[in-house]
């Protein structure tokens, strides 16, 4: 034992002399000096550095060229150790020869690559001053562990007692060891102590959590017997060993570290010690490093026979007598893998190290993978899915190895980090490892029968890498991988944000429905042995039953399990977990979710039918269908209860298979916001059925008009141009509203070639049409309305057609010559300024009304039929805008575009399947939208199944390509350059149909102030939802104490609260007289009144008549941009105003201020005191409020000026 002692002294000495700076380096040097002699002895072989022992490193791939020892050492010193060089090495990546351009294949796009570099720079651990204290602490820990004395073998109860006196409870896994066990527990000095995991491999990443640095202590083989892998014996011995280590550290006199137990990867077979900083400010307080040291245990690879631990073997025998051949229990893959995992710690370390040497980009690919996983809520812990950083790195390393079957490797060592990352994702997305296990490098391992755990078997290290994954978490991983691969495949947008930046596992945004089952009812009923596995078994049962019951109604289901977290070393695990819940999340398929009939097997198929009946119990019926088939069937109905069908099924399944206690205790939530929009006639919120009456009306009208015989010109098109006709009006079947339609006649030379005369000719046409319609198609009433009286070259008239069905349509005539004439005027240099301006605005209006509105309507109509959730999402979002009094500033089309974007570019999620997710994701996007610098680009033809191209025959223009996007981007930048203050164009929204981008937002609709308010409101809403998510998770899943006991505050936001506007932020609040509101209420029952036979003409008088809106419009016209007005077009109970701070601050007097002013004495100019005091003006708030009262008259009950 002499050499180690010398060595220790040496290290200490060095530590003392050379300080922190190169301590680690010297330690490893010391280690490598003496490595030859003492490789496997029981003396403490010191080696903090990873794989620095040439003799230790067995490069599993034969390709690694053996190099002289000296070389390797040098290199490792170079790459791993020398902290001083590091600063020079780090930016090396940025200094890579940037010969202009990154190949699209290699890094997707320049933007992507540049952002990725930034990200890596941010996330990478710097291995600098900050981390040094933690490294020191590791060295100290190592010293402590090395100095721990061996302990004599003891029986289990003796061992427990003796450790109890030291204040340590042994973290035995469930089931606890039998009291009468014959074997003894023992502590022997470790074979080696190594740093392991991501930190020394340089693939660690910084995030808001503490960095965890792993220290692996290899236990001596001498502790174990050949058969210890059976029946948890290994794990009991391991737990004891760990407890001894904990006792040593806990009771170490010099160093007061925080010690606690945790389970590695949430697997209670793998307890580990967490060492936190002492937080006393002492020498070894490494809290500055924001890290925690994990001490893990490992065994030498040769301890147990590899073959015995294959996944299909059984290692937990029921009773002692059962060990007769042929009567071995079912396979225990999880247990076996848990044992094997401990045996392959070092092997993986070597493998990963080899990979990082082999492939330059491996480390970066690992860091990218870490970020990706974290943003998707995936982690190594079983509760987080069982696929985390380690698994990611191991999979990448595995894929870099050549596959002996196919020859080549999946990933090549020459790939860039992005290619490695994408390739790994593709691998995960493509292979269904549950059904087709992926087994490498071995012949004898086979998947256990009847097990649904995915299998990626690494033969060289004898481990199924995915052993901790449940089928649901694997499905989750696969889905995320698929989505991300799709995003990365997109050539138009770079999707960097959604791949790495956006956090995607927000419960309310990610999933359409959640089911929460408290563990108290989910049970295992008692705290009986092995409760962990019992819970997993029940979860599996839940998963299979729900998947079977819901069939294709859902596209994804995930089960979130409560996590225990660390616990103190001194006591047994508390059963805190009993108060938690499991949470099942569903991603539904909008098309199937509300189907009412499920077909089962045919009655003739006896076996399957029996199983079907057994599954559904009394719900199963035998039915005969039109095609003559007799099938087992389950029928659901919305009539009996208002609960959505999905919830009915889930509750029924729970009741059927888990008892009514559980079914009653479970909480189901889906589409929580949907009730805020008025349901359609059949009580269904989603979909477009509510609009069918109006759409039928439109179809009938079109037929009627086309059927008119004596029209002077043939009709070319009749197109819809209204929210009501594209399923996006808030009130689906209101008869009070008017739907705009556009009629275009065949061309004729008899039109006058003069703008004003064209308008009059249109009126003549309308009069003729009205005559014909009322005479030929009885039941229709018509009236001709005038508009735009101040702009004679804009459209002057429309025809309101009131159908017998009660719907009213507003018909305008489109004549395409107008555009040419207006354009000519616009370009006519000889015309005076105002005339040209009016021509410009007339042209814009023309384009909007006759070109863009119908095209937009068509596109949205198509989308609404394709995505059932789009229409309700738009209506909900419109409600939101209205509720916050913003609607007057946002055109309906703009809001529709915002929501359509959520559906067409759903990344990082899949297309929303219910109104709530559609709405919330839109809000989230709005809250993030940096409209000052980023245009909104909607590609109507994106994300489209190839089958339904151009259903309606209309030329849906081709989808956007990169060039088109570039054009739009350039146009946007041009707007920002000519109008940097955003006085005219604030939001920029372009589509593939409309590259202008300003059609719906020109002349500051909305103004900048209003757009900022939209962002602020969306942000506030998102923050509130986030908080809700977090409290929900805290209550249900995480070890932290629930904020409130017994569920008084469930942390659930009542959806309505997002729709309440705060009036106190406005300067002027005008309350509308209650009698005006009452008339609005009456209007609600207008259809009833109509049925009772009130005259139609009087009804028509009231269609589209809202004096309050007219009043508000007048206010807008009178005060221009001096006061901003806000109102909710639905409630119409208040009009709120804001003194525009930009235009109405105190300023020197001028003749045309543009607003009602009050003169005040301004500042005297400093230069000459003789002159009169300068006169400033301020906005005349009192005067204006008086004016408002004068204008409003009996309309208003109160004008309140706040500021």
């Amino acid at each position: 034992m002499a050499p180690p002692a010398t060595k220790r002294r040496k290290i200490q000495h060095r530590n003392a002399s050379s300080g922190n700076d190169d301590g680690l380096a010297s330690a490893s040097n010391g280690g490598s000096l003496q490595e030859n002699g003492v490789a496997n002895s029981d003396t403490s072989m010191v080696d903090l550095e990873v794989g620095t022992h040439p003799s230790d490193v067995e490069y599993s791939s034969g390709e690694e060229r053996p190099r002289p020892t000296v070389d390797r050492k040098k290199e490792e010193k170079h790459t791993n150790l020398d902290r001083q060089k590091k600063t020079r090495l780090q930016p090396g990546l940025a200094e890579r020869p940037q010969d202009g351009v990154y190949n699209a294949e290699v890094y997707k796009s320049n933007m992507f690559k540049l952002q990725m570099d930034d990200l890596l720079q941010q996330v990478r651990v710097k291995y600098g001053k900050k981390e040094a204290p933690a490294e020191d602490a590791m060295r100290v820990l190592k010293d402590i562990i090395e100095q721990l004395p061996n302990r004599e073998p003891q029986t289990i109860s003796d061992a427990e007692k003796s450790l109890e006196t030291e204040g340590i409870a042994i973290p035995f896994p469930q089931p606890r060891p039998p009291k009468d066990a014959k074997y003894k527990l023992q502590y022997l000095r470790p074979t080696s102590i190594n740093a392991t995991g991501s930190y020394p491999l340089k693939v660690a990443s910084r995030n808001e959590e503490d960095l965890s640095i792993d220290l692996v202590v290899t236990m001596s083989e001498a502790l174990f017997q050949e058969k210890d892998y059976l029946n948890h014996r290994y794990f009991y011995k391991r737990s004891y060993y760990l407890a001894c280590l904990a006792a040593g550290i806990h009771n170490s006199e010099q160093h007061k570290f925080e010690v606690s137990f945790d389970c590695l990867g949430g697997n209670d077979l793998h307890p580990v010690i967490l060492v936190g900083p002492s937080r006393d400010g002492g020498t070894y307080d490494f809290s500055i490093s924001r890290s925690v040291i994990r001490i893990m245990l490992a065994i030498p690879e040769s301890t147990f026979s590899k073959a015995k631990l294959h996944p299909h073997r059984n290692c937990i025998r029921n009773k002692v007598g059962d060990e007769v051949e042929g009567n071995i229990g079912p396979p225990t893959p999880f247990y076996n893998a848990s044992v094997q995992a401990d045996a392959s710690v070092t092997a993986y370390l070597k493998s990963l190290h080899a990979a990082s040497v082999k492939s330059e980009a491996f480390k970066d690919a690992c860091i990218l993978g870490r970020v990706w996983l974290r943003q998707r809520g995936l982690g190594t812990r079983i509760q987080k899915g069982g696929f985390g950083n380690f698994e990611w790195a191991a999979v990448v390393a595995l894929l870099l190895q050549p596959n002996p079957k196919t020859g080549g490797s999946v990933l090549s060592a020459g790939y860039s980090s992005y290619q490695l990352f994408k390739g790994t994702l593709q691998f995960l997305a493509r292979h269904d490892l549950c059904k087709n296990p992926y087994i490498l490098d071995t012949q004898d391992a086979e998947p256990p029968k009847g097990d649904t755990t995915p299998m990626l078997f690494d033969g060289a290290r004898n481990l199924n890498l995915l052993y901790k994954m449940a089928p649901w978490s694997y499905a989750h991983l696969q889905q995320e991988a698929k989505l991300s691969v799709e995003m990365l495949r997109d050539t138009v947008t770079d999707n960097f944000e959604s791949t790495f930046i956006a956090k995607t596992h927000l419960l309310t945004h990610r999933y359409d429905a959640t089911l929460e089952i408290p563990l108290s009812v989910f049970g295992p009923d008692t705290i009986y042995e092995d409760s962990h596995r019992a819970m997993f078994d029940r979860c599996r049962k839940l998963y299979t039953n729900l998947t079977r019951a819901l069939t294709n109604r859902i596209v994804g289901m995930n089960i979130l399990l409560p996590d225990e977290g660390a616990c103190p070393v001194s006591s047994q695990k508390p059963f805190e977990i009993r108060r938690k819940s499991i949470v099942v999340t569903f991603a539904i398929d909008a098309a199937n979710a509300s189907r009412t009939v499920d077909h089962g097997p045919s009655a003739e198929n006896k076996k399957e039918a029996a199983s079907f009946r057994k599954f559904w119990g009394e719900r199963a019926e035998l039915r005969r269908f039109k095609d003559g088939s007799i099938l087992e069937t389950v029928v659901w109905s919305l009539k009996e209860s208002s609960t959505p069908i999905l919830e009915q099924i889930v509750r029924y399944t729970l009741k059927q298979h888990f008892g009514s206690d559980l079914a009653d205790g479970a909480r189901f939530a889906s589409d929580t916001f949907a009730h805020l929009i008025s349901p359609s006639r059949n009580g269904e919120q989603s979909g477009i059925s509510g609009f069918s009456a109006r759409m039928n009306g439109f179809a009938a009208l079109e037929k009627d008009i086309r059927g008119l015989e004596s029209l002077p010109l043939q009709i070319r098109h009749i197109s819809a141009a209204d929210p009501l006709l594209r399923y996006t009006a808030v009130h689906a079947d209101s008869t009070q509203e008017v739907a705009s339609i556009i009629v275009q006649f065949e061309g004729s030379a008899r039109w006058p070639d003069d703008l004003c005369a064209i308008q009059r000719t249109k009126i003549a046409f309308l009069l003729k049409l009205a005559d014909l319609l009322t005479s030929e198609k009885p039941g229709h009433t018509t009236r001709l309305g005038l508009e735009n009286s101040s702009e004679p070259s804009q459209n002057q008239a429309y025809l309101d057609i009131h159908q017998p069905s009660g719907f009213t349509f507003r018909l305008r005539i489109h004549h395409d010559r107008e555009a040419t004439l207006l354009d000519r005027q616009l370009k006519d240099k000889t015309l005076d300024g105002p005339s040209r301006e009016s021509a410009a605005s007339a042209l814009a209006l023309y384009k909007r009304t006759y070109i863009q509105a119908p095209a937009h309507s068509q596109a949205i109509q198509t989308l609404c039929t394709r995505y059932p959730a789009l229409s309700p999402s738009i209506r909900l979002t419109k409600r939101w805008f209205a509720a916050h009094l913003l609607s007057p500033h946002f055109s309906s089309e703009l809001i529709e575009l915002l929501v359509a974007r959520t559906f067409l570019q759903p990344d990082p999620w899949s297309t929303p399947a219910c109104a709530t997710t559609g709405f919330l994701r839109t809000l989230l996007w709005i809250s993030r939208w940096d409209w000052r610098h980023v245009p909104l680009i909607v590609d109507f033809s994106a994300n489209k199944p190839s089958s339904d191209k151009g259903v309606h025959g209309a030329p849906l223009s081709s989808s956007l390509n990169a060039e088109a996007v570039e054009v739009i981007q350039t146009r946007f930048e041009a707007w920002r350059r000519i109008d940097p203050a955003m006085n005219r164009v604030v939001l920029f929204a372009a589509t593939n149909l409309d590259n202008d981008g300003t059609t719906w937002t020109d002349s500051s609709t909305p103004e900048r102030v209003v757009a900022a308010r939209m962002t602020a409101l969306a942000k506030a809403a998102t923050v509130a939802l986030r908080a809700q998510d977090e409290t929900f998770i805290a209550r249900a899943l995480t070890p932290a104490k629930a904020p409130d006991e017994d569920g008084t505050d469930t942390g659930i936001i009542v959806p309505q609260t997002l729709f309440v506007s705060q009036l106190h932020e406005y300067d002027v609040v005008i309350s509308i007289a209650s009698k005006m509101l009452k008339s609005k209420k009456e209007a609600k029952y207008k259809n009833l009144e109509m049925q009772q036979g009130s005259s139609k003409s009087s009804h028509m008088q009231n269609v589209d008549y809202a004096p309050v809106v007219l009043f508000a419009e007048d206010l807008k016209n009178i005060y221009g941009d001096a006061v901003l007005w806000f109102w909710d077009p639905e409630a119409l109970d208040t009009i709120a105003g804001l003194w525009n701070p930009i235009s109405t601050t105190q300023r020197p007097w001028k003749v045309k201020a543009g607003w009602n002013s009050v003169p005040v004495i301004g500042k005297k100019s400093k230069d000459d005191d003789q002159s009169d005091a300068a006169v400033d003006i301020r906005i005349n708030k009192a005067g204006i409020s008086n004016e408002i009262a004068r204008l409003g008259g009996s309309l208003i009950s109160k004008v309140e000026v706040r500021r």
Binding site: Q98, G100, Y102, S109, N110, M111, L114, Q115, L119, E208, V371, K503, P752, D754, L755, C756, A757, R760, I763, A764, L784, G785, S789, S790, E791, S793, Q796, T830, S835, D930, H933, P1107, L1110, D1114, N1117, I1118, G1120, A1122, P1141, Q1146, K1152, N1156, S1157, V1158, P1159, V1160, I1161, V1175, N1180, A1182, N1186, E1187, R1190, L1191, G1192, G1193, L1195, K1198, V1201, R1202
Partner: protein, 345 residues
């Protein structure tokens, strides 16, 4: 929204200045409105008119008997201003008032190019009456004068019925008040200055007695006026179209004249119409496409010579490089804006 800061100075009416840039500042007392609730920091409502004798940059015949008013109340009409001057400001008699703005706006008539045939100053100053329907300008003009760039100068028959019961003024707009004679104008100006000096109260009644100018009545009437009866409309359209035909032939006459007469430099103006009518737009487009096609099939191919391919390659490379620089700049800007690239938490 930060509230605009009230001035620290005392709020007494004395602090209100009485004149600015030759304008007299005339405070008007407003009718009390019980529905208005003001915070204590605000003084009781007053309206301030800025008045001075009219001095247009281009002299007009009525300038010397006119006063210029800035910050006209939104509900001012010719009648209400007439009443104001007659009853409270020196019994002055107002002939008419020209407002510079209206809500809803007054239609602008496009003028003849370069003012060739247009004496029409547009209808901008037409709002002398109490409503658009009674505007007098149209009547005054002879039809042949009224050749405008498009349409016709409408008269009572051809004008579309008005859809608002009365015009409002934009907040803070101006007006020119024309008095019957210079004496009235002087008297009014004197009275204004006296009132300003003495601080005697001048009341503003507003509305000018126009039925339905404000309040619910305004919107009720609008809803009715918006839908004129069909016979009236038909008659108006017929009148317009026959006037239009006449105007069009007048315009053609002018064009013909222009086509045939060279100007002083000896050039003949090119105008529409002539021996052959203008080409149809569609035909022109078609021809253009055709030509393009022909050029494509005939011309020298771009990759015929080696230098062409080489140059193309170079160009592509340069383009890529340029794009890369651009992207780099964009990312840099993004970094400036958003700070570090960090995964969202």
């Amino acid at each position: 929204m930060p509230p605009s800061k009230p001035k620290s100075k005392s709020k007494s009416p004395n602090s209100t200045p009485t004149s600015v840039n030759n304008f007299a500042i005339l405070p008007l007392t407003l009718p009390a409105q019980p529905t208005v609730h003001l915070p204590d920091t605000l003084a009781p409502p007053k309206h301030y008119l800025y008045i001075k004798p009219h001095e247009p940059s281009a002299p007009t015949p009525t300038a010397d008997r006119s006063l210029f008013i800035s910050n006209v109340p939104f509900d001012a009409t010719a009648d209400s201003l007439r009443e104001l001057f007659f009853e409270q400001l020196g019994d002055a008699l107002v002939e008419h008032v020209e407002f510079d703005s209206a809500v809803p706006g007054t239609p602008a008539v496009k003028r003849w190019r370069n003012g060739v045939a247009g004496s029409g100053s547009g209808a901008k100053s037409s709002g002398t009456g109490t409503g658009p329907a009674t505007s007098k300008l149209g009547k005054k003009r002879k039809r042949d004068e009224g050749i405008v760039a498009e349409g016709v100068v409408e008269d009572d028959e051809s004008r579309l019925p008005g859809i608002w019961p009365g015009e409002l003024r934009k907040s803070g707009s101006t007006a020119v008040v024309v008095f019957v004679d210079r004496a009235s104008c002087k008297g009014a100006w004197k009275a204004v200055r006296e009132r300003v000096k003495s601080g005697a109260e001048v009341r503003w009644e507003g509305g000018g007695g126009v039925e339905g100018l404000v309040g619910l009545e305004r919107y009720k009437q609008h809803n009715a006026l918006k839908y004129p009866s069909k016979p009236i409309l038909q008659a108006s359209i017929n009148a317009y179209l026959s006037q239009f035909t006449r105007a069009e032939s007048a315009r053609n006459r002018v064009r013909k004249y222009q086509r045939s007469i060279p100007d002083e430099d000896g050039f003949v103006t090119v105008t529409r119409g002539g021996r052959t009518g203008p080409a149809r737009l569609e035909d022109a487009e078609k021809k253009k496409v055709e030509l393009e096609e022909r050029r494509k099939s005939k011309g020298v191919k771009d990759d015929f010579y080696r230098f062409q391919t080489r140059e193309k390659k170079k160009e592509a490379e340069g383009e890529l490089r340029r794009k890369f620089e651009l992207d780099k700049k964009r990312v840099e800007e993004m970094r400036m804006r958003r700070g570090k690239v960090r995964p969202e938490t």
